[in-house]
């Protein structure tokens, strides 16, 4: 009998610590499938963040480094500069990448480091128990914005994909979501391209994936998916923000 579905080779056969209904599992799988499809597992080096994906080094079947909070793009830079033949990726959440690591991501992008960044944006600090993130939407209640995020007090959410797309360094930036099967397939193509770009030496690629946090949002998983569609996507529109291949644009 032909096998039509199996665990990607790049994904370790272990139970993850992720909460039920969280889409980290889907995104991990997509990253693993992309690595498998490109046949790069034995030369891939991943960098895990601090946050919900802190234990990602247990979940991918490649060499991994665990970075300090927000510093994954700098760690990736160090690895890629000394091992240019390696395929180097970071997997970071929004607290890690858009807050404490804002400097590192901006400058890795500006330098056009030939790395791949998977940026998981669920608008909250999940691992530490649901605090406000730089990406928390206006009005959303978190443990540190208990009355709802008020722009007068806490400012506005940061749009990373748009912001980084203003730079000349990046080769490819796209925002995707995974709340329907169709979108999952689309996200897979984007993630695969972000890795393929690195293989081809095209430079910095970042895929922002809108994700859920049923636990800290206080929602059932299905409702959490609906919230992504109804509340996050309007503020964080899906689409390609930078693509050096699109208009024959030179890097």
């Amino acid at each position: 009998m032909a096998k039509v579905f199996e665990r990607p080779k790049a994904l370790a056969d272990v139970v993850t610590h992720y909460c039920p209904g969280c889409t980290h599992g889907i995104i991990h799988r997509l990253v693993a499938e992309a690595i498998d499809d490109l046949g790069i597992l034995d030369r891939t080096i991943g960098v895990a963040p601090v946050g919900c994906a802190v234990l990602a080094y247990n979940y991918f079947e490649c060499d991994m480094q665990e970075a300090a909070h927000g510093r994954a793009p700098a760690v990736c830079t160090g690895i890629k500069r000394v091992r240019p033949e390696a395929i180097v990726f970071s997997y970071q959440g929004d607290g890690d990448l858009a807050s404490i690591g804002a400097g590192e991501i901006v400058h890795a992008a500006a330098r056009g480091e030939n790395i791949t960044v998977i940026f998981v944006n669920n608008g909250i600090y999940g691992m530490t128990g649901g605090q406000m993130a730089p990406t928390t939407l206006v009005g959303h209640k978190t443990t540190t914005s208990p009355y709802g995020r008020d722009p007068k007090l806490q400012g506005y959410p940061v749009r990373i994909a748009e912001m980084l797309a203003t730079l000349d360094g990046p080769a490819y930036i796209e925002r995707v979501a995974v709340y329907t099967p169709q979108l999952v397939m689309k996200a897979k193509q984007a993630i695969k391209r972000a890795f393929a770009n690195q293989v081809e030496g095209k430079g910095f690629s970042l895929i922002e994936v809108l994700s859920t946090c049923p636990t800290n949002w206080g929602m059932a998983p299905v409702d959490a998916l609906k919230r992504v569609a109804n509340e996050m996507v309007p503020y964080y529109p899906l689409g390609v923000y930078k693509d050096i291949d699109a208009k024959g644009e030179d890097k």
Partner: protein, 355 residues
Amino acid sequence: MGEKILMKGNEAIGEAAIKAGCRHFFGYPITPQNELPEYMARRLPEVGGAMVQAESEIAAINMVYGAAGAGVRVMTSSSSPGISLKQEGISYIAGAELPCVIVNMVRGGPGLGGIQPAQGDYWQATRGGGHGDYRVLVLAPAGIQEMVDVVQDAFDLADKYRNPVMILGDGMMGQMMEPVMFRDEAVTKLPEKDWATTGTRHHPGRRNVINSLYLQPDRLEEHNDHLQRKYAEIEANEVRYEEVDVEGAELVVAAYGTTARIVRSAMEAAKQAGLRVGLIRPITLWPFPVEPFERAAEHAKAFLSVEMSAGQMVEDVRLAVNGKKSVHFYGRTGGMVPTPEAVLAKFKEILGGEA
């Protein structure tokens, strides 16, 4: 090789690092160490390497983390305020047991302080500096030739123990020019970096992970116990120091780096005046050379620590002398450098009527 050339301390470190096999340098501008990253930016491309100017000291040390984790010899440098920023990364590097060399050309503090030579980072360097129970080997050269020599040593020690090594200079050591000779060092046999993340194609059947996270308390304690055993081994095997006229000395002075040279000048004058003054010059500040102080405490009347700080190494001298004799202190701060005359006056004050 074998030829003497005149070089600035900061540049001599750079060339010595290249000779030691370092091909990657990550740094950020700060006075008074800029000649080192500048030298690396110029020289490393010539030898197939690269200098990356990071966006911050924090990014630079984390680039070092990544590169060291990927198994190569790597260096960063800074000066006091920048080294404070690097402490997060240094703690992670120590926790993940990665080898690297960090240069601190110390300037006056606290805060933004000044840009003139100082030794006020002694505590930070020798006590770990960041969070958690860890140690960094600290080498303190007292001249440009010694600076060149300790660079090779620093990389070897880093690789041998999988631990960060700090070269602690000061603004004077970085800026000063002296003739140096690059010797062809005998290559030390070092353990293979089979733990490095180089991609599994280089180590089939085994996945390498660089990490300092241990969520289980018993596992983290086990890791700490392992680190402490390693530090004890370093303390037993890697102490380096120089002794000058310690035998028969009534006053034994402790000084390192630039200050040790000033003390040497004061000792010449003291000799003329009939004073018996000896010097113990720690070359490793951690591990601190306890044993020569224990020996000297048998015969010396008193000890004196001379520093460009408000009194930091003096605590290690007191611990080593362990109450057997009195321990005095003389220091200047803020970039003010002690004069040989002032140091001599202190010798006389301590030895008093006994001289």
